[in-house]
């Protein structure tokens, strides 16, 4: 099973600040999915990146996939309290099972 390392584990920032979280592996990802989870709920897919060097934007969120497809980052501009949650990256292995990293807990204070 491919190991996905996410950093930082925890991030607490003020509203309006920018932040970046990371997802790394020693192996090449076939594709990478980013999810956000709020307390007491299931994760919700934000984006899937597939091509090396790919950049996708979702409002204030920018997702990058490394050229070698071994790493990915999520950058949030002008964070809002509604961005608070657990951010998870996941990789679909062998086409059937989605394996997740340990996640980054983000807290945005107003």
């Amino acid at each position: 099973t491919q190991l996905l390392e996410q950093s930082p584990q925890f991030l607490s920032i003020q509203e309006g600040e920018n932040l970046t979280v990371y997802c790394n592996s020693s192996s090449v990802f076939s594709s990478l999915q980013w999810y956000r989870q709020e307390p007491g709920e299931g994760p919700v897919l934000l984006v899937t990146v597939v091509t090396g060097g790919e950049v996708k934007k979702l409002k204030r969120l920018t997702f990058q996939f490394g050229d070698a497809r071994k790493d990915s980052s999520l950058h949030i501009t002008a964070a809002q309290p509604g961005d608070t949650g657990l951010y998870l990256c996941g990789n679909m292995e062998y086409g059937n099972k989605l394996v997740f990293g340990a996640g980054t807990i983000l807290r945005v204070k107003s």
């Binding site: 999915q33 007491g40 709920e41 299931g42 899937t48 998870l88 996941g90 059937n96 989605l98």
Partner: protein
């Protein structure tokens, strides 16, 4: 449209008691189904997945088992719960483009 139902939302069970969590999916046929467990505020550990009726792949040796008696039904069971079985259990199905759609989860406390 596709929906996923998972129940109960909260469960408190004594050590040594049995467990049965049920998950059903509507609006799709022959979906891949998944059971995950999550420790507080941390990542999801894949427990079981199923690509069809009666087909179960176990990812982590443990005190739990899974069954898929019908196409859109996935059940997580235990004969005797341990304290370490406590956690947030999530069921999911696979949609198009390898996306997973999750249920609302069951918070299990074993006391």
């Amino acid at each position: 449209s596709q929906t996923i139902h998972q129940w109960p939302a909260t469960l408190v069970q004594p050590v040594g008691s049995p467990l049965s969590l049920e998950c059903t999916v509507e609006g799709t046929s022959n979906p891949n189904l998944y059971w995950y467990r999550q420790a507080a505020g941390r990542g999801l550990q894949l427990l079981f997945y199923s690509v069809g009726i009666g087909q179960i792949s176990s990812e982590v040796p443990q005190n739990l088992s899974a069954s898929r008696p019908q196409d859109r039904q996935f059940i997580l069971s235990s004969k005797k719960l341990l304290l370490s079985d406590s956690g947030f259990y999530l069921c999911a199905y696979r949609g198009t483009n390898e996306k997973l759609f999750f249920g609302s989860g069951t918070q299990l406390s074993v006391l």
